[in-house]
Subunit: 354 residues, 2 copies
């Protein structure tokens, strides 16, 4: 059996009894009820995720940057050359990218996974050589990948998640790199959220009006092309194969792997959200393990977060990707867990209640 199928079948709901126990515990802590806002909601859900109240503090977070190239790059949807994907992988590995600086600050480790970069990469510490194929095909003309390739991408993500969890990682953070990947992501978000590409599509890394118009038109064409495939709407793996994103498929698998092991996973921008939507279609319970770290200013982000019934934790006007928004939310999750575990109660401290 494919690993992603196995993972999807082994996702239990977040433990609602433990969530209730956490909610009750919040009321005993030395603060006015509800005064920690989202930190309480997050802490309670972390307890349900871990089936433990108070929840363990996730002190071993790991950011995984999934890299892949996109055949749709040939349609002129971005001013950035495709070679930047490879160059940025090297930048991640030498510690010079934004995600590296943020991860150093918040105490997270960074691993890069080649899910489908369109060039051969040199093996290196911190790089998982998981290439499924050399970039996706041009989704405006043909499916991004075969079903077998889509499944391989999903399996890759699961195996990365499971190996990290087996090595002690207690918080997974989704990151992405791939020139033109906001095009595939907007297509996937449009498809699953039934929202017009003109609404979901943004300027990605920064594009002008003609490029934006071209990008929207390319996405419309891709969705129209894919939609003639029989049974597409009931088959998220087929949607991935039509509109992906090798790194998007790997992110979807990564999330399924995390959820199957009851480990929280932070998503942020449109690429990891596209992967999150696929994971959610394959196994709806997976969404219970997701935390939306940051609301990207890419318009598809808010739409996808709403569809997943999540609430963004940070809103810092970021639109970089790499998992930067998700990584910035790590201290929030850690603090939420710590508050639930370490705060004194009214009873233990002798503080009077209102």
């Amino acid at each position: 059996m494919n690993q992603y199928k196995y993972a999807a079948r082994h996702i239990d709901p977040v433990d609602r009894e433990i969530v209730s126990e956490a909610e009750a515990r919040q009321l005993t802590l030395t603060k006015p009820p509800g005064s920690l806002g989202m930190l309480e909601e997050i802490g309670n859900r972390l307890a349900g995720v871990a089936q433990r109240c108070p929840p363990p503090i996730p002190l071993n977070p790991h950011v995984v940057v999934f890299a892949g190239d996109h055949g749709v790059h040939g349609q002129g949807v971005t001013p950035w050359p495709q070679a930047v994907t490879v160059q940025m992988v090297a930048n991640f590995l030498s510690g010079g990218a934004a995600i590296n600086a943020i991860s150093r600050q918040v105490g997270a480790t960074v691993t890069v996974v080649d899910a489908g970069v369109a060039a051969d990469l040199t093996p290196s510490e911190g790089l998982v050589m998981g290439k499924v194929r050399y970039g996706s095909a041009d989704i405006s003309l043909e499916p991004a990948m075969t079903i077998l390739e889509a499944e391989a991408a999903l399996d890759l993500g699961v195996s990365v998640a499971v190996e990290l969890i087996d090595s002690g990682t207690d918080l997974l953070v989704c990151g992405d790199m791939g020139i033109a990947n906001t095009t595939a992501s907007a297509a996937i978000i449009s498809y699953f959220c039934k929202t017009d590409p003109s609404v979901t599509t943004g300027r990605g890394t920064g594009i002008d009006d003609p490029t934006l118009a071209r990008k929207i038109s390319v996405i419309e064409t891709a969705i129209e092309r894919a939609s003639v495939r029989p049974g597409l709407s009931d088959d998220p793996v087929a949607v991935l194969s039509e509109l992906g994103g090798l790194e998007i498929g790997a992110i979807a698998g990564f999330i399924l792997g995390a959820a199957s092991r009851r480990i929280p996973v932070i998503v942020d921008g449109v690429i990891s959200l596209a992967g999150a939507l696929i994971a959610n279609e394959i196994a709806p319970l997976a969404a219970e393990y997701m935390f939306a770290g940051h609301l990207s200013i890419e318009p598809g982000a808010g739409i996808a977060i709403g569809h997943l019934k999540l609430k963004p934790i940070l809103k810092l006007d970021m639109r970089l990707g790499e998992g930067t928004g998700a990584a910035m939310a790590i201290p929030v999750l850690q603090s939420a867990a710590r508050l639930l575990g370490e705060m004194a109660t009214f009873e233990s401290s002798g503080v009077s209640e209102a």
Copy 2:
């Protein structure tokens, strides 16, 4: 000369040339221009604050919780007994409060300052015995304190800031504790922001409708009473003496002390914002050193932040005080500085530009 006057006269503007240098540097880093959103704005301002680009990463943050009691408590503006102020000081000192848990997570030290608790406290490590008087008077009936007491509170805050900075603290974080202190804060915010108390006043730690109506009425009475004082509008120290808050005065001084030493200071809820407004009236340049860590759901918070021309960093629906929202923003400021200092440039990394 009072220390606060000395500090106020020694606040220079944030260095605009260094801010411009930081803005230019951002464009050379391996990311699309502007894609780090607020992290870029924060990093650039930190450079200007420190007069160094890239700015130092503030790795020695210190949270100071200023505690004081409020005579207006007698008007029934809150269901919490006044004794909770003393009880919570003990909770801070034994590490059981929310601000302790968050500070442990983000690597900050916590100090408590008795600026005006209405009871004698036992000396303890981590407690500064700075009591100016035993709680403020009831502002609905008379001035909160004398001008000399207001000046003593301001001086206390300056001295706490300066001593911490001299001991290596590179980021100051304002915290507060004092039952009924949202009443005094809403009065000060209403006064300086010329906004009706019915708009600025919130439910504090959580009050019902009749208590809220009483609270608003008490604040209206206090402002009407204070406003007959000749020359009040030109004298922020007189406003503090009329409507303060001993801990609010100390927070104002703390901010002036930070700004006079070019050290960034994070404010969060309505109490530290009331202090920030006083600091801003005494020395308008002080606002350039302030960062609004979190937008409290107390309505006065957004009004005060707008008045100070700041932009809230986090919005986590918190309304606890203690400096919890400000402390949660510490990793954001640290990351912002680190990104500016540690990211590779396009030139150094060989990444192609768009």
